[in-house]
Structures are given as structure tokens and as C-alpha cells.
């Protein structure tokens, strides 16, 4: 394999992709800063996609990253090792029965996790137990119903709806971003504040056209093709048209909008 011709392996291409990732990382993470010596729990770190950013942005914080999957944890640990991080420890744990004493952490950080849980409200309650009084929780989630675009396309909207329905059937909620405020309030957090982070993409932002429209959002929708067809949610031809219409929004006269939501709250 000529790796220098593969997308993402050409050094120049890599820098460009990192630029795109940096812009999105900046948008979502730049205002999450913890004091030196703070004990931070990252709940549901998965393969460590956010762990590296969190640890780099907060070199003085002592981060404990947990996930229920050993396989994911191993990958996250390797990622932290490769990045030379020394302020993160990893532990296998279930959010709903955390192996930590109460009030242990100064901060809890959760990114792209609640959308997969059948009971996000219970997760927020469980996380509150291990957070000290006055400590903060930060949650970042997407909302696939926030996606709209030009040219508008019913086929594209239906293809997105397949992903939303499949995630719903799997017990998750692809529209959870808009719901963070009431979820935080219901879980009893104080000083709840939600800040939408909109990704607006037109041809003047080519790094987002490629990195966000194509390689992130449309790739994700394309990824549920087999499952959507198998579940009878779409016909192959219609789903294909929807995916094509999503790629179409990345052309010179296209526009794509998507919003992430970042919520913070304080334990009373």
C-alpha cells in the first residue's frame, strides 16, 4: 500500500486534517479548563478521542478516564502513551456503578456518551454521587436533528432519520443535544448553563467541507446503510440518493449546518 497516496497519510494531507480537527476541537473544548491539582473524571472515554485533548489542555489536572469496554480502554491507553501524557490513568468502570468513593472528584467530563445511554438522567445522577459539592460537570453532545443544508433534500433528511431511528432502537437518543438543559435540571444540578456550538460550513471553509460534511457527518450516515436497509427503514436506492445529496451540500454552492451542545452544572 502506497501510504502516501492514502487520504490522511500524506504528510500535507495530515496537517490539513489536523487543522480541521483543531478547529472543531477548539470550538468544543477550548473553554474547558481545570485548576492545577484538580481531580477530573472522564466518564466514557471510549478509545480516547477526547482524552488527549482534555489532558493536553489541562496538564496540571489529574485525570481518571473510565470506560466499560476493555478493548476501547486499551486503545485509549495506547493513544495517551503515544501522546506522552502523564496525567491520565485509565480504569474499567460502569458509569451506573462507579468504583469510586462519594464526593471524590472536583470535575466530571462527559463527551459523546449520553447519546448512547437508555437512561441519561440516571447516568447524570450516578456521576453526581462521585462529584464533590461545588464541583462541576461538563457534557458535550451532538444533535442530529440540528443538521440542515442547502440544497435541501428530502432524501438526505430521510437518510439522517434512519440513523436517528436506529440509535433510538438501540436505546440511545441522537437528538439529546437540545435536551441537556432539562436533563441537568432534573438531575438536580445547580447553575445549569447550556451553550450551543454551531458548525456552519460553506465553500469559504474548505477544511470543514472535507473534514466535517464529508468525513464526519456524511460518513456517519453512510455507516448505517446496511443496518437501515436490514431494518426496512429505507430502500437501497433512496438511501443512496440521501447520501449523495449530503455530499452535494459540500459543493461550491452548498451549505451545511450542525450544532453541538455543551452543558455545565454545579453539584449543590
Amino acid at each position: 500500500m502506497k501510504t502516501n497516496y492514502v487520504h490522511g497519510y500524506d504528510p500535507q494531507e495530515n496537517i490539513r486534517l489536523q487543522d480541521q480537527a483543531s478547529t472543531l476541537v477548539e470550538l468544543l473544548h477550548s473553554d474547558t479548563t481545570y485548576a492545577i491539582g484538580s481531580r477530573v473524571l472522564e466518564a466514557g472515554c471510549g478509545v480516547g478521542a477526547q482524552t488527549v485533548t482534555l489532558a493536553r489542555n489541562n496538564p496540571g489536572a489529574l485525570i481518571t478516564s473510565v470506560d466499560i469496554s476493555e478493548l476501547s480502554l486499551a486503545e485509549a491507553e495506547q493513544k495517551a502513551l503515544d501522546a506522552g501524557l502523564t496525567n491520565v490513568s485509565f480504569k474499567k468502570a460502569d458509569i451506573f456503578s462507579l468504583p469510586f468513593e462519594e464526593d471524590l472528584f472536583d470535575h466530571v467530563f462527559v463527551c459523546f456518551v449520553l447519546e448512547h445511554l437508555p437512561s441519561p438522567a440516571e447516568a447524570l445522577n450516578a456521576l453526581k454521587k462521585v462529584l464533590r459539592k461545588g464541583g462541576t460537570i461538563t457534557v458535550i453532545e451532538g444533535d442530529h436533528g440540528s443538521a440542515y443544508f442547502h440544497p435541501d433534500s428530502e432524501a438526505a433528511r430521510k437518510a439522517i432519520q434512519c440513523q436517528i431511528e436506529l440509535q433510538h432502537r438501540a436505546g440511545g437518543n441522537a437528538l439529546i443535544g437540545r435536551e441537556l438543559y432539562p436533563l441537568f435540571v432534573k438531575a438536580g444540578y445547580d447553575s445549569v448553563s447550556v451553550s450551543p456550538r454551531m458548525v456552519y460550513v460553506d465553500a469559504s471553509r474548505p477544511e470543514f467541507v472535507d473534514g466535517f460534511i464529508k468525513k464526519t457527518f456524511t460518513a456517519m450516515i453512510e455507516g448505517v446503510r446496511e443496518a437501515a436497509l436490514k431494518a426496512g427503514l429505507a430502500k437501497e436506492e433512496d438511501f443512496g440518493k440521501g447520501v449523495q445529496a449530503l455530499y452535494r451540500t459540500g459543493e461550491a454552492d452548498g451549505v451545511f449546518c450542525y450544532t453541538f451542545f455543551k452543558a455545565t452544572g454545579v453539584k449543590k
Copy 2:
């Protein structure tokens, strides 16, 4: 009529409404500032809703506000008079055949106008003629397809769709916000830049719950009830459920999102 009990006439209520309006005005208009002595054309001023803000924010600019409707112009003129504005003149004019010499204006300002025109691209071309080289155009438009909310409601989405369809049948485009970038580029403007202005409302922002969800957006959807029923776009019961569901998003656990788009470009 006891005017002090009518919404908007009680002095305290009035202050509160002004606060809400100020927040929205700030969000949309605060970064539109023109140098002393600049000649500014406000195209499609209607009853002067934006004229007062534009003139107050730019006391040194010489503003010419035009509209095709004499009735609206008279109202706008009265509004300017009441506000004590001295830097605005009004003129009856059609955007598509403006009674001005070419290259006359330093800036063109258009707010909530293109959404009503069958040929917004032609309007942008016509406006370019009266703008000097190096002068700027600013356009602010909404996008009703950018509205989403919690609790989500199919009935609410269908009621909104009635408004979008009716505006489409009237030759307009209620989804024009997302389309400003390609429209500007197609019209040949340079340095085109579009900035989305999202209105995010939850119970922590009560001034927006009342002022935006209820009195602005839902009131507008309610306003097309008769037309929607007459056009056979909805059954009365279903439309009513949609409107109720929109009001429901203003309750303590509700969330409402809407995005305006502000575009600027320079005449080459």
C-alpha cells in the same frame, strides 16, 4: 379598553419586552457599524422595524430607506419621527428598479426582505448597481427550517411546514437564511462571509421564552392558521396541536432553537 392590562402597554411589561427586543437586536445588529458620512441604502424598510436600530447605531451615517409600499413607508416615517431620528430619509422605490444613480451608496443594508422575493438573486444584482466599488452589502434573514425544539413534536414540525409551504407558494423562501452564501457568490460579491446567529432558548432565559418562542415564532406560525386550512395544508385539529406543541417548548423543561443568518459582501 384598559390599556394598562393589555400586553405590551403595562409600563413594566414594556420594559421587559424592550429588554427581549434589545437582546435580539444586539445579536443581529450590533456589528453593523458605518463610518461618519457614509451613504447607506436600507432596501425594503417596511414599517421601519430595523430602521430605528440602524439609524441609532449609526448616527453619523446618512441613511436612505426605501420600500415599495407607501403605507409601510408612512408608518416607518412616523416611527423615525417619534424616535427623533434626523439621519434618515424615506423614498418609495422598487428594489428591482431603484431610482438612484449607479455607485451612489457606500453601503446597502437589507433585513428580512429577500425571503419574500421570487428572485432574490436579481435583487442582489440590482442592489449591486447602486453600490460603489469597495462598498459593502449586509443581509440578515431567518430560516424557519432551522427551528427545532424539545419536546420534539411532529405536529409542530408540520405546522411550521405549512408556513414554509405558504411562503413558497407566495413566491418567497422561508429557508433562505442557509442560502445566503451561494446567493452572494452568484451575484458576484467579493469577500462573502456568512455568520449564523443562533437563538437558543431554555428556561434560564425567560425573556426569550416569552419574547421569542411565544410572541415571535409561535405567533407567526399561528398567524398562518386560516391560510393553511384554506389551502388544505392541514386539518384544524392537527394545526392546533402543532401550535400547542410549540407553546409547550416554552415550559420549564422545554428548549427552542432558531438561527438567523447575517451575510456581508463587497462590490468588486
